[in-house]
């Protein structure tokens, strides 16, 4: 029940990052993604890291966390999860 409640409070997002905006302090992009995420949420975890068709990651955030993340340096967009269906 707790897990379900946590899921209900959070939504899944695809976070697009601008790879060229990565601060020099980071060696790898994944570190930068992780630090950006950590700056808005203690509990959120990266689900997928994307590097071929977009630069970024997916994660679960509250709306407040998503809004805060959107204001971070190097964020291109935050796209909510979408459900697709078979045809």
């Amino acid at each position: 029940a707790t897990e379900k409640q946590q899921r209900q409070n959070k939504k899944t997002y695809i976070v697009h990052m601008s790879k060229s905006h990565m601060p020099a302090d980071f060696v790898e992009h994944k570190q930068w993604y992780d630090a950006s995420l950590r700056s808005v949420s203690d509990s959120a975890e990266i689900m997928y890291t994307y590097d071929t068709v977009i630069h970024g990651f997916s994660t679960q955030l509250t709306e407040e966390e998503a809004e805060a993340l959107e204001k971070q340096h190097g964020i291109v967009s935050i796209m909510p999860e979408t459900r697709y269906e078979l045809h």
Partner: protein
């Protein structure tokens, strides 16, 4: 699939498509519900070693051993993090957390695209023949992204990334999610990345037809595939107590009804529910249907589920009648009880008798498989239709392919109806949807890629589109089964795919990544929106006048705006520029325009193009001049270039809004 290779002329084209190494070097990546590796369609007999460039793998998981992969099925992965984040942990008693297909859909689509040839394939004896994928020697890689609770964008994007990294040559996606802007659509975003690496991406147009503006997967770097019928049918005859007979379709294979006529009842009159006519679960009164044939109206719930409801209530058989949203479209199902689907007209005729006779009776007689049905193809009523709701200057769908009553491989985990009560297990199943037409095109694109390795995804699509046909051999336009009348380019795009002709299109409309970036500029996308779609920083040049109309697309969608308050016949001129690339012998092509309506004047400049060498490019301009027309008016035509041997055809769809 059985029948579609013949229907598409692939049997005749065997000598034209090189069946040796080139096709075997190519891999079709399919994003779907997973795969049933034990299907005979994944037999790898005769296939050479896995291409050395292949980086994919078969992932182990619940009910899935990597050793079941072979030289045919060379990749199988699953993506469930996004699904589990929303739905909670996968219930492994209901679905396998692995590439295993517990649904059947993924096995059907992947074997349609590239399944090996299997002789004597059939479903309960129906549609019997040798089943093969369109690219029977190509390899298959499955990326499982769809689960019981749906398919999620985070998983889809991850799967597309992995497929690209693995080295697929063609991507086939028989799924969709409405029509969001390209920068909000993970499939469009993933497809852009694939296109850029030379991967052909084919997607289903959707099953939301026959309504206009009902398309999915509309991005111009995607090939959007609608559905048409084959020349094959599975008739089942309804005999009524008044002596009248009607023809429907059925894939039932069980105990037949007795020769005598049985009591017949309308579900709406055998229910306590106001929507009893739909035969939804728990709505039929057993005392009123027991031992009778029940007529149910189509809609809201799955067709096979209605059969289950009738059977559970004690009904002896079911007649499923189309309503106006399906017209005369007949989709066959492997029902659990003797049943037949009938078109709206037949349904109305049967109801007339049912409501007028105090003691109506009926029976259903199965007719097996019939081929040579004409006219065929006809556009399926369910096939989603244009115009594009995102970019009205791009005509979608791009083309149609077989998608009605298609036999292909199936999962051993589920019966042919997909119902939990269906304990039957089959190696092949017959189902319908643009999900089925999409992998036909994916496989055909693989054949073209094998024959022309140097062709870009846009070139392959152009070849498929410009050689597609829009009329039957007698010259009449392809029909739309939803209306029974001639269909339009908003229904079939460039027409029905003709792979033999696509092999040698003469000329192609090519497109590069830069062309698509310019297209995004023409849409006035912001820099960040362009970055989201294209994964790069690209700045539109303020001094360049970008035009959507100049995207080098093989079709023409021309949206005029109705003049409001102008009070006169103000003529508007819209100019479209196109570039043709010669991929055949040298020659001179002359243009012809067919546009039956007087509403628009169409001028092409120049009227002839001469090509002296391979890959030579020539540009032309089309001017569409039109008076103001009432909003909602549509007119259609066709522009063709021909050198006498090749016909390079483009549909024209003009709208006023």
């Amino acid at each position: 699939t059985t029948r579609t290779p013949m229907f598409l002329g692939l049997d005749m084209a065997n000598n034209m498509f090189p069946a040796s190494t080139s096709e075997g070097d190519l891999t079709v990546g399919v994003l779907d519900t997973g795969v049933w590796p034990e299907s005979k369609s994944f037999d790898d007999t005769g296939l050479g070693p896995v291409p050395s460039s292949w980086k994919g793998q078969c992932e182990e998981g619940k009910n899935f051993n990597a050793a079941t992969c072979n030289r045919k099925l060379i990749g199988a992965r699953f993506f469930s993090k996004g699904y589990e984040a929303i739905q909670g942990p996968i219930d492994e008693s209901k679905e396998s957390k692995s590439p295993r297909d517990d649904d059947g859909h993924g096995t059907h689509t992947s074997t349609t695209a590239a399944g090996s040839a299997v002789s004597d394939a059939n479903l309960f004896g129906y549609a019997s023949g040798t089943a093969r994928g369109m690219a029977a020697r190509a390899r298959v890689a499955m990326y499982k992204v769809c689960w019981i609770g749906g398919c999620f964008s985070t998983d889809i994007l991850a799967a597309m990334e992995k497929a690209i990294d693995d080295g697929v040559n063609v991507l086939s996606l028989s799924l969709g999610g409405g029509s969001p802007d390209y920068y909000r659509d993970s499939v469009a975003i993933g497809a852009f990345g694939a296109m850029e690496k030379g991967i052909f991406v084919s997607c289903s147009a959707g099953n939301a037809g026959p309504s206009s503006y009902s398309l999915s997967n509309e991005a111009p770097w995607i090939t959007t595939v609608g559905a048409g019928t084959l020349d094959r049918d599975f008739p089942a005859y309804v005999n009524l107590g008044n002596g009248m007979n009607f023809t429907g379709v059925s894939l039932y294979n069980g105990t037949a009804l007795p020769d005598t006529l049985l009591p017949f009842v309308y579900a709406g009159n055998a229910s306590n529910s106001t929507s009893g006519n739909l035969c939804m679960s728990g709505t039929l009164v057993p005392e009123k249907v027991a031992g009778k044939i029940v007529l149910c109206d189509r809609g809201v719930t799955a067709r096979v589920q209605k059969g289950e409801v009738v059977k559970e209530a004690g009904g002896a058989g079911m007649i499923l009648a189309n309503t106006d949203s399906n017209g005369e479209e007949l989709v066959a199902d492997a029902h659990l009880l003797p049943a037949t689907a009938v078109g709206q007209k037949s349904g109305d005729g049967i109801k007339k008798y049912l409501f007028s006779d105090p003691n109506p009776t009926a029976t259903i007689i199965l007719g097996g498989t019939k081929v040579g049905i004409q006219p065929s193809p006809v556009v399926a009523a369910f096939s989603s239709r244009g115009p594009s709701s995102i970019t009205t200057e791009i005509l979608k769908p791009d083309l149609i392919a077989p998608g009605v009553n298609i036999l292909a491989g199936w999962s051993g985990a589920v019966g042919p109806t997909g119902l939990s009560v269906d304990n039957r297990r089959v190696g092949f199943n017959i189902i319908s949807g643009t999900s089925m037409s999409c992998p036909h095109v994916s496989g055909l694109a693989t054949l073209l890629k094998g024959a022309h390795p140097e062709w870009s995804p846009a070139a392959i699509r152009s070849a498929l589109m410009t050689t597609a046909y829009t009329a039957y051999k007698n010259g009449e336009q392809l029909q739309d089964i939803a209306t029974g009348k001639a269909s339009t380019p908003f229904d079939y795009g460039a027409g029905h795919v003709d792979p033999q002709k696509a092999l040698d299109p003469g000329l192609i409309y090519d497109l590069t990544t830069d062309d698509y970036l310019n297209f995004l500029c023409a849409l006035n996308y912001t820099p960040s929106q362009i970055t989201v779609v294209s994964n790069r920083n690209f700045t539109c040049n303020d001094s360049v006048k970008y035009s959507v109309a100049d995207l080098n697309y093989p079709s023409f969608a021309v949206p005029f705006t109705t003049g409001l308050g102008s009070g006169g016949n103000k003529v508007t001129v819209l100019k479209y520029t196109r570039t043709l690339t010669n991929v055949g012998a040298s020659g001179t092509y002359k243009v012809s325009v067919s546009f039956p309506s007087e509403s628009v004047k169409i001028a092409v400049e120049p009227a002839a193009l001469s090509f002296s060498q391979m890959n030579e490019k020539k540009m032309y301009t089309v001017s569409f001049s039109a008076n103001s027309m009432p909003s909602g008016t549509k007119d259609f035509g066709r522009l063709q270039w021909s050198d006498g041997n090749h016909v390079v055809g483009s549909p024209i769809a003009i709208t006023w809004t």
